[in-house]
């Protein structure tokens, strides 16, 4: 039987060779315009940014932070996502080959076209470990303090992370990611289309509960959104806000290129990208309307620098304080990761998968199965229950945090590379023309100037961040700048440990593209 199959394959191949025909690989297409809309709703998502932006605002100038956050979204992320989409639509390729084609066969741009998809995809197993914990906490939320104890922080960092549960639940979620990815892009598009609206609806329920039952809700709003107009001129606030936008959207070879390359005839770029961005801003804003207020309502200081500490330490403390109601809210909160977080995992899986399929000619099933096997191994590494005494957590989590923090740096640099390619080879005017050809809502021609504003903003922010963390900005000690380069903890910054861990993260992101660009 095996020999017959082998023979048939050989015969098929020979027939093609004899006929001198190169069989074109048929590119998948969304079955309807809703496919690209689903992708754009799913793409900027995730739990980290959704939960922490409001708390970053409390630490960095309240409303001033929010204003810069929205401005960065509109002036950097939105135009770059439109450009990403136009690149995909006009080349019908995933990022690396699209960038290569646009730049007139320049390998350097193909190289950078690989960096972000690989980085995004490596983010997936780190997030699957965290979402695995969300799932576990959801399943045990009904027990409340009997599960996460009366000291949830001590339990999470010291006890829970020393178990194999994050790995186990992470692998369960990975199986579902494989299940909706391996067959067809349309299979998952049909599912994720409804997830963002569902997440927004769940947030509305939590806001309503907060307003009705928490008499201190407006105090939380005042903490989060009040501001002094003069703070708008403080560069560190702008930089902090922009970093979260880059991280959230992974722009600079973002997944929009891949999804626009699946766009059917008549697909609408501008409408879908705008809806995706606005829906994302709305959900982040909605989280700001209930999370800090709920903590203030039970007298827990809303001071959290990272999402993980907030979600698995601060919020369980709050649920404990709320008693029986807290258990219901906890169940609602810990399940929200499915509509609000999982779609981004599927998006990044699709992005890197499409890059590999384009370059290596692999089938979808083979690509996604292989990626899931590698992701499973990485989940085991990132969930390693070995205690890291320096940072007071598991060693796997130290790797996760470092990966996240360094990732935002690559993203900033990749946006600059993408914009340089846009100015030199593609031209902003063409972006507007092509987007308008396929969209009901027409962008004004003056939209093209926003790309120059984006470039100046990103260049300034990256430069300021490096200067601040190197102690070159007067009045800002490097360790207290709290940026993603040096937040004073020692393992993100330019310290020996920081650099060593950074290299572990750099190896796949920097070296794998070198392997791919050499293949024709």
């Amino acid at each position: 039987m095996q020999s017959i199959n082998y023979f048939l394959k050989q015969e098929h191949r020979s027939a093609k060779v004899l006929a001198g025909v190169t069989q074109p690989v048929v590119r998948e297409t969304f079955r309807s315009r809703f496919g690209f809309l689903a992708a754009m709703l799913a793409y900027p998502s995730g739990m980290g940014t959704m939960t922490i932006v409001a708390f970053q605002a409390i630490l960095w100038g309240g409303g001033s932070f929010w204003i810069w956050f929205f401005l960065s979204y509109l002036l950097i992320a939105f135009p770059v996502i439109i450009a990403d989409s136009v690149f995909g639509l006009s080349t019908r390729k995933a990022n690396p080959l699209a960038w290569r084609k646009i730049s007139g066969n320049k390998t350097i741009f193909e190289y950078f076209g690989w960096v972000v998809p690989i980085g995004n995809w490596i983010w997936n197993p780190t997030m699957l470990v965290v979402f695995g914990i969300y799932l576990d906490y959801f399943l045990n939320a009904w027990q409340g303090a009997r599960f996460w104890t009366t000291n949830p922080g001590g339990f999470f960092w010291g006890t829970y992370l020393m178990t194999f549960r994050p790995i186990l639940f992470g692998l369960v979620l990975l199986f579902f990611v494989w299940l909706i990815s391996y067959k067809s892009v349309n299979a998952w598009a049909r599912i994720v289309l409804w997830l963002k609206p569902l997440a927004i609806a769940m947030c509305v329920i939590l806001i309503a509960w907060n307003v009705i039952y928490n008499p201190q809700f407006w105090q939380g709003w005042a903490f989060t959104f009040n501001f002094r107009p003069t703070n708008l001129l403080f560069p560190m606030i702008a930089v902090q806000a922009a970093l979260w936008v880059w991280w959230r959207c992974s722009v600079g070879a973002g997944p929009a290129t891949v999804f626009a390359s699946y766009l059917p005839r008549g697909g609408d770029i501008t409408d879908c990208v705008t809806i995706g961005c606005l829906a994302d801003m709305l959900i982040i804003f909605a989280a700001g309307l209930f999370l800090p207020s709920m903590l203030v309502g039970v007298k827990i200081p809303p001071l959290y620098g990272g999402a993980t500490g907030l979600v698995f330490s601060g919020l369980p403390k709050m649920f404990n304080a709320l008693g029986g109601t807290g258990l219901i809210l906890a169940m609602l909160w810990f399940i929200i990761f499915i509509p609000a977080g999982i779609p981004s995992i599927v998006v990044y899986q699709e992005q890197f998968g499409a890059c590999l399929q384009d370059k290596l000619g692999w089938t979808r099933t083979k690509t996604h199965s292989l990626l899931c096997i590698i992701a499973a191994l990485l989940i085991v590494v990132y969930g390693l229950p070995i205690y890291d005494a320096v940072n007071g957590e598991s060693f796997g989590f130290t790797l996760i945090f470092t990966q996240w923090y360094w990732w935002s740096i690559y993203a900033g640099i990749c946006i600059l590379v993408e914009l340089i390619m846009l100015f030199k080879y593609f031209k902003p005017r063409r972006v507007v023309e092509i987007a308008n050809e396929s969209s009901a809502i027409k962008l004004p021609m003056s939209f093209r100037y926003i790309y120059y504003v984006s470039f100046v903003l990103v260049a300034f922010m990256v430069a300021f961040m490096f200067a601040a963390t190197s102690g070159l900005v007067p009045g800002l000690p490097s360790a207290s700048t709290g940026t993603m380069l040096a937040d004073g903890t020692g393992y993100y910054g330019l310290t020996p440990i920081g650099i060593a861990i950074m290299l572990i993260q750099l190896i796949p992101v920097v070296l794998i593209p070198l392997f791919f660009i050499r293949r024709r």
């Binding site: 105090q219 903490f223 959104f225 009040n226 409408d271 879908c272 809806i275 709305l282 009901a440």
Partner: protein, 165 residues
């Protein structure tokens, strides 16, 4: 005319004097007791922005007053700034006095000899207009734009596809 000016001046000066005395007298007293590095009691339990406070911090260790301990307040969240004394040193009775006011709401960290004791909430008296305005404007803009885009995009596509069928 001169007499009228003199009377007006006197009235103004007396009003200013009254307001100064009245505001000095209106300083609210806050008592914080720190026992063995953590807050044992605080009255009143809540602090509000834009009020004059005379904060009395009593520091004891194993029941004995601690002398020459540095008590500090520093802003740690929100947009609160400390107007007036932000640090004081305890006397032989273990008491330190801080005359202060909090300009804005948020959280303030209380430290003793550089070590964090606790976070104090500085509450707003009412929702500040800038915060309310930002929440309102952002919500209206986001919801209205999304509604319009859903109407011009997905809703129309759905209706078109439905009509075709």
């Amino acid at each position: 005319m001169t007499r009228f000016s003199t009377v007006t001046c006197l009235l103004l000066i007396s009003t200013l004097l009254f307001l100064t005395i009245a505001s000095t007298g209106a300083a609210e007293t806050v008592m914080i007791e720190i026992q063995d590095g953590s807050i044992a009691s605080m009255t009143p339990p809540e602090l509000l922005q834009n009020r004059d406070y005379q904060i009395t911090v009593k520091v004891t260790k194993q029941g004995n007053p601690v002398q020459a301990a540095k008590v500090e307040l520093s802003s740690s969240g929100g947009i609160v700034t400390i107007v007036g004394d932000s640090s004081a040193t305890t006397g032989s009775d273990g008491v330190a006095l801080l005359k202060t006011k909090f300009d804005g709401g948020g959280t303030v960290t209380l430290r003793l000899d550089g070590n964090k004791v606790d976070q104090l909430f500085i509450y707003y008296e009412s929702i500040p207009p800038l915060a309310a305005g930002l929440v309102g404007v952002v919500l209206v803009l986001l919801v209205a734009s999304l509604g319009y885009l859903v109407y011009t995009g997905p809703l129309r596509w759905y209706l078109e596809e439905h009509a075709r069928k």
